[in-house]
Amino acid sequence: MKFAGLLVMPAGFFLSIAALVLFPASNAVARGAFVLCGLAVEALGLVVAVRGHMEAQGKSSQ
């Protein structure tokens, strides 16, 4: 589960980068929103990784 979360995080990065290529500088709002979406995906991946860590730790302490 931790690895799954960590694999999701680069996807968020590529979303953020895609915003720069897809939207022109004049469309700053759409660009910013797309970058934020990428960061949200990264945050999601981090949450999954943290949950994975907590589960693994719970099992090892039993």
Partner: protein
């Protein structure tokens, strides 16, 4: 503003940056003392020896491999094209620092800055692995960071790489701005600390089954608080040197940079003092130290580009976040981070980077900062974890149970830091 090192530099500027960089190791000494003080007494000698060894390994690994990948300041790099835009992602520096003596003075200063920065970055995860991370593993972590991950980031941010060119290529303000390494040093170090803690696991007895986390306070508050004062001197030096080297701040702007650094740390300390006073009835010394350090870390990103009032706000926010996040990580997420590096360096650095975007006058600067943060979280953390996971297969991170029971000093060094005093054992925490 640009993030490339200046091509020419007056003698006065050169002298000032050189003197600043010669003082910057005080920041490393401060963090080393804080790391040692926040660990337990039976691991103090191993902690401080580890700090020295890590600085040595980081310097050698960066000289042998890292400096080549980081590339010369503003020099050529490996570039690929996407949608007609160049993405400079890897440096092409001379092998083994060849020809360094003949390089322009600003390039040499930039390299010295990077050597000190890599030592600081490699030191950060060591504190998080206190009391269970083996010395050889700490050195292996430092070698991997210094040879592979840090040079990549350095090239992207300081040596003309794609993050520094976001302004030129995509009209995003001045590109990703990080004059004193909030991202390159501290977020990298903090995320590496998270990876180390995930792989190493918590200290024995920290999270008893079915109970709440056991408090394991640092063994020497004097080390911790004196380390904070030392760190201030080093941070002033880092921020001033970084402002000249990476954002071409004029000499007349440097006093403001130094004042901003102090104000950010002061605001953070006052905020942490107040938060811990309200939550626990009395201010907590080690959390206040963490707050102070978080203020300094946040200032690394923005001290050179904001006003004093903004610096104070940056510090206050960092100081409020720090004790709350330390508590969340320990109690809600079961992360055992004795030095608080994940909160102080990763979260503090991320906040500083965001603040540099929020308070910047240029349009698009905030987006540039967010893209840099996306790179740190989305690429650097998974890469670092993967590399450490591989290293752990060959050089196990965690000491064996017996070593943890008798303490790292006796187990790894054969002698303690305080041979004339009684040392706490795990029984003390039952």
């Amino acid at each position: 503003m640009t993030t490339n090192v200046p091509a020419v530099m007056s003698e006065a500027t050169f002298a000032l940056v050189l003197v600043s960089l010669l003082l910057a190791p005080l920041a490393i000494a401060g963090v080393a003392l804080i790391n040692a003080g926040l660990g337990r007494s039976r691991s103090a000698a191993q902690a401080l020896l580890g700090n020295l060894a890590i600085v040595a390994v980081a310097a050698m690994a960066f000289a042998l491999v890292g400096a080549t990948l980081a590339g010369p300041m503003g020099g050529a790099g490996h570039v690929f094209q996407v949608s007609g835009k160049p993405w400079n992602w890897l440096g092409t520096g001379p092998f083994l620092l060849n020809g360094l003596a003949a390089a322009p003075a600003p390039t040499q200063l930039g390299l010295l800055f990077e050597f000190l920065a890599v030592a600081m970055a490699a030191l950060i995860p060591w504190g998080s692995g206190a009391d269970r991370l083996r010395l050889t593993a700490g050195c292996a972590v430092a070698a991997v960071l210094s040879a592979i991950v840090f040079p990549l980031l350095t090239h992207w941010v300081w040596a003309g790489g794609w993050l520094s060119q976001l302004g030129v290529n995509f009209s995003l303000g001045s590109g990703f701005v990080d004059p004193a390494g909030a991202g390159t040093i501290h977020v990298l170090g903090g995320l590496s600390a998270l990876a180390v803690v995930w792989i190493t696991g918590p200290r024995r007895g920290k999270f008893p089954q079915g109970g709440i986390a056991t408090a394991m306070p640092g063994h020497n508050a004097v080390y911790i608080l004196f380390g904070c004062l030392l760190a201030l001197a080093g941070w002033l030096a880092f921020n001033v040197a970084g402002a000249v080297l990476w954002v071409r701040a004029p000499l007349s702007a440097l006093p403001v940079t130094a004042i901003n650094t102090l104000l950010s740390a002061s605001g953070a300390l006052a905020a942490t003092f107040a938060v811990t006073r309200v939550r626990f009835g009395k201010p907590d010394a080690s959390l206040c130290a963490n707050g102070w350090l978080a203020g300094l870390v946040a200032s690394s990103a923005c001290a050179a580009v904001i006003t004093p009032v903004e610096a104070l706000i940056v510090g206050i926010v960092a100081g409020i976040l720090t004790p709350l996040l330390v508590e969340v990580l320990e109690l809600a997420v079961s992360i055992d981070d004795p030095s608080g590096a994940i909160t102080v360096h990763a979260a503090g650095g991320l906040w500083g980077l965001v603040a540099a975007g929020i308070f910047a006058p240029q349009a698009g600067q905030l987006i540039a900062q967010l893209v840099g943060i996306a790179a740190l979280l989305g690429l650097v953390l998974p890469l670092t974890y993967l590399l450490f996971w591989i290293v752990n297969r060959f050089v196990p991170f965690r000491v064996d149970t017996d070593g943890e029971r008798i303490g790292m000093d006796l187990h790894e060094l054969g002698g303690g830091a305080y041979p004339e005093f009684v040392i706490h054992r795990d029984d003390s925490y039952r």
